[in-house]
Subunit: 296 residues, 2 copies
């Protein structure tokens, strides 16, 4: 299959939806500007695309799940804004552009994050954006799972542990906890949400969960490798910026070679989990391989 | 009716639920500690109590809606933590105790707020805490309405406008915008949620919406009056702290007498809206009168 076209089509669907979702102005002007600034800062839309691909693998029509998939991107974007704050990672650059608080100030950046996070749940459950094919029971279950993956025992917990581990000696258990919670949880739930919205049976849901967990972990390992190897122009932040902050990373703990091997193993496991699926799961398989090969 | 007993009984139900909800430890320890610190800092639980009272007024059994009502308190608590941050109102005291970031540091305070906000939606939709009498469709509608009231076009928007209006000359339109969004929206939706969860008909829902809107605005006007008149020991923050920051407030714009008259008018309108309800709405009426008379 032509993955490039697939990714760019899905990306367009999501970005068109997000743009229309925030097209009507509301006061105060600067809050919306700040939210839209980070939302349109050039993300790859990996999470919503995985959601749509899982929805499709379970027999759904991609167009029907675009609003809910886009809601996941709001949550991802909020997490980047808050992670970059001076009280957190204190980053000035994100995807090659000044971070939200550098442009709009800290107070508005906190609120832009809060707004995106909260709006995500409104959008996810909003009847005006929901195709009749998606049941109320699926919405309720997904809201709970999405919030669990993003909340104190998911992404927020991972970020808290990451913050507490700065400048400390690396240890493998903490590293895996951070990766599983900070990154893998939201990626993995994105896949599950696609399946649940499509009404997948237990076996398919279980397989896609395994796919998501493996790909979620792989994603962060690869991110860590890219931070060491990548160039500033390509990854959008200074090369080795994690190392400067003595962040716990895979390459720091195990070296580059072992990290690459680990990433490959996780990607292979994610593809194996899809063995019961037919050709409709081809995009999920291709995305897994693409993540391993990506350079930014 | 004995409002004091009513309020203390409902408060106990909510606090017992919240305590059990966060009773199991999860890492990192300090994140949970920080969330529980603010959650148990002595709130009056006005929003969840209003939700339960509306649920009851529409014929529901209070016990059945405790988890969903408690979720609203998580959102309220997150908003206090973020509002107090140095980049926002920069408050050191809240309800007579050091604010969250004073105890746990700014980074953890941001994350504690993020965690509470996100967990609220997980709790609200969680099947494990849901009585069968509450339908999936009601959950989906409430999630959307709750997130809308709390999000960028609700509470977050109000706080953003409040932040942008510091040190500026007061003007009535901005003041009403801030009150309606920052405070009234969440109070008002709390009442609506009680009604929707109970399956209220259109007329009752419309009446309770009017009740909630009026009481929500009254609540903030009275808060402003208390800030001028109250004593530090009673309201838990230094008297006149809004004035020091040149915050836009009702008393600053209209004086104390006119503010009192306005609060009375709003409370009366909220009680009038309940005319179609029977004795089951007595707690809602009593709460309205109590809010007017409160001294902290």
């Amino acid at each position: 299959m032509d993955l490039k076209s697939y990714l760019s089509e899905k990306k367009q669907l999501i970005e068109a939806f997000l743009e229309s979702y925030y097209s009507a102005p509301f006061p105060p002007k600067i809050l919306r500007e700040s939210m839209v600034y980070s939302l349109s800062a050039g993300g790859k839309r990996v999470r919503p695309i995985l959601c749509l691909a899982a929805y499709e693998a379970c027999g759904g029509r991609v167009e029907d799940a675009v609003p809910q998939a886009s809601a996941i991107e709001l949550i991802h974007t909020y997490s980047l804004i808050h992670d970059d704050l001076p009280a957190m990672d204190n980053d000035d650059l994100r995807r090659g552009k000044p971070t939200n608080h550098k442009v709009f100030g800290e107070g508005i950046a906190v609120l832009a994050g809060d707004g995106l996070l909260t709006d995500a749940f409104c959008l996810f459950a909003d009847r005006r954006f929901r195709r009749p094919v998606i049941a109320d029971s699926a919405i309720a279950q997904c809201v709970c799972e999405l919030a669990h993956a993003a909340g104190s025992q998911g992404m927020v917990g991972g970020q808290a542990q990451d913050l507490l581990s700065e400048n400390s000696e690396p240890d493998p258990i903490t590293l895996i906890f951070i990766h599983e919670h900070k990154t893998a949880a939201l990626i993995s739930v994105s896949v599950r949400i696609g399946a649940i919205l499509a009404g997948a049976d237990e076996e398919k849901l279980e397989r896609l969960t395994r796919y998501g967990e493996n790909i979620g972990l792989a994603f962060q390992v690869i991110d860590d490798i890219l931070d060491v190897e990548g160039e500033t122009e390509v990854i959008g932040k200074p090369k080795g910026s994690d190392e400067k902050k003595k962040k716990l990373t895979y390459p720091r703990l195990y070296g580059i070679e072992e990290s690459r091997r680990k990433a490959k193993e996780l990607i292979d496991a994610s593809v194996s989990a899809l063995s019961v699926f037919d050709g409709k799961a081809e995009p999920l398989r291709a995305v897994a391989r693409y993540l391993y090969e990506r350079r930014n």
